[in-house]
Amino acid sequence: MADVTGEKDMQQRAAPTVKTGRLSERQKDIIQKFAALASLVVLTAFFSATSSAFFTVGNGMTIALQVTSIALLGIGATYVIITGGIDLSVGSVLALAGVVAALAVKELQLPVWLGMVLGILTGSLCGMINGIVVTKLRLPPFIATLGMMLIARGVALQITGARAVSGLGESFGVLGNGSLLRFESIDEQGFPVVAFPGIPYPVVLMIIIAVASAYVLNRTVFGRHVYAIGSNADAARLSGVNVSRVTIYTYLISGTLAGLTGCVLMSRLVTAQPNEGVMYELDAIASAVIGGTSLIGGVGTISGTFIGAFVIGILRNGLNMNGVSAFTQQIIIGLVILATVWIDQLRNRR
């Protein structure tokens, strides 16, 4: 990510800034990103001081694992929100996708990988329907995805009879529970000792997808068109941008990532819960917003969303370790969202 070069820029331009009292857009951008990053560092430092178990490799991996679902959904939300839309359906879509994957493995006896591909495609389908409803039926994104939120959840409950799907076999749990580069040794008593817990597959997946989606957003024509639509859809259309198609793709991406998140989550539990993922869409939107994505559209970055997801994840984890109740956690996270968006608006006020 561009933060390293950004720092240099900021130092070079700092002097004239003081004179004019106005910041260039790029500087504002960098400050915004640094503000989010700085709050991340402050949170880490604070929790490390209050809890000795916080700043360890093991806990780091735990946080990363917990953050995967927020980050994956947040990336999808970022695409959608940059176009000026919103996707409220991802929490339900991930439940439906996970349930479809599990039923495919259990009832249809399909191999695990195929079941999961089916689950992910279910998410894609839901996303595509969202996109079509938004662009062709011209319903407001809030309404279109609210409808999908209810429908997908309803279907997930219907096809499972509202019961969890279990007995999926160990192989179903590999995606969610396996790790890359895990080092173990056996001690004298024959018990395994973990030298390095490894990087969980979901974390690997999250990093690959974050990098890829940042690349797509910044360096491809498609990414440029996403920003153009959010900044001014009419201007984009009159410049020959296929506004409907690009918009549908953003919802498709959001739905696909929701499908993937569903498979990862259900795999971690080795059980498919039709009630999984309730309110996850709000975490996803919150991470994008904390990361500087504007709900008006046209503005947002994947790196920002990534930081936003970690802010939420670290807050939850650190507060847990300090014995703060789940209710208080909600209050704190709510305040953090209000504060970051308020700061963001101060930044944009001229």
């Binding site: 491809t220 024509v221 440029r224 001014n232 009419d234 201007a235 259309r237 941008v241």
Partner: protein, 511 residues
Amino acid sequence: MGASAIAATAPARVLLRLENISKEFPGVKALSGVNFDLRAGEVHAVCGENGAGKSTLMKIISGVYQPNSGSITFKGEPMRFSSTLQSEAVGIAIIHQELNLVPHLTVAENIYLAREPRRGFLVDRRKLIAAARRCLDRIGVNIDPTVQVRALSVAQRQMVEIAKALSLDAAVLIMDEPTSSLTEQEAQLLFKVIRDLKAQGTGIIYISHRLDEMVEIVDRVTVLRDGRYISTDDFADLTLDDIVARMVGRSLEDKYPEPTRVPGEHVIFSASGLTRHGVFSDIGFEIRRGEILGFAGLMGAGRTEVARAIFGADPLDSGTITLDGKELKITDPRNGIEAGIAYLSEDRKANGLAIKMPVDANLMMARMDGVSNRFGIIDRKKHHDASQHYVDLLNIKTPSLTQPVRLLSGGNQQKIIIGKWLFREPRVMFFDEPTRGIDIGAKFAIYQIMDELAARGIAVVLISSELPEVLGMTDRIAVFHAGRITATLTTRDTNQEEIMHYASGSGRRAQ
């Protein structure tokens, strides 16, 4: 001449006086050393080209901006407004070009918005309506105070704004382009209201591009040019040409570049029988190599709509379009762009530019495939070089390629739109009000670009509501009235009167 005019302002009571006002924005000197005074019971016009500083001056008077230097006195007291609330409180009201009414509330509710007469916690409706009716009666207009504002015409809304200003006991009324969307009849009603207000002692600051209508009401006129104070005179002492000469600062002949294009006979583009039901019908015209064709007509005559339909932005019910002898089928802007048609929108901010995005992204927006590989990955070097090329070619003044376009001046924004389309190497370009809101230097540059494009063999259409511009820049003129072309005239053989004759629909020449 300015100084002598100011010395002569003794007779009537001076309501408002601004002396030596200067205002700077980062990198721009918007106003320097401007003087202005307003007497009770007079209409004082402020004239100047776009970008001359009229609206900045009005924003200083109404408290939106604070001047960097200079003094303001109101009824003899020194004033310093830090917000519009403060200026309103002392009795300065501004009626904006874009009206500030709430469409879903009634006329009475709008007039007394946030100042509703109350009975306990409730709005005293009877008192509200009676008070609103008194305000409307005072300006002699017959509007029902209980109807919703969205049901009113633009002219009626303007009357409501005026009534609202009067309900605030405004001693000073600022009117910004009040007639720009009124019919002749409605404008006459407005002038009657203005004369009544004058008689009641209200001071009115009047801003308008339509100099000819000022004859009806204006007492004095102050001219600004490029942010500088030029003069203040009694209106009766000046001719309209004097005013224009002061606004422009050079003789009118120099406003338009010497054409380098040579109109030929070869037809590049032609349209015939274009119809969109209820909007325009049976539109036909040709553009020949090396010429600029003008679309003249009143607002709403269908000029923009025809251009948008040809480009594919709006549907077309029937008609044929041919380019270089080939018939085109266009149903979407993408077809239009593919075919080589460019449409430069009249409203840059609404649908011409993505104003939050940087200069380079906007320049490249219409032809991203030209700077990316077949997988859709942007080639950053090509992207940069192509953007830089158009910045240099069109002399776009920007601190960097990554500057968001909203921070640039109107002229530079317009050049970016031109650059965006040039990158597509179009065959036909529709310029829709390309110089609206642009300062005079940039106007000249844009005229030069248009001439150069025509000289290079691109078919250029200029859609403009400013007749001098159409007469100064085109070779032939298609005059629109109510969705039809009523005449196609040769520019050097026609004049404003003839164009207006056809534009107002009072005559129709067989073609």
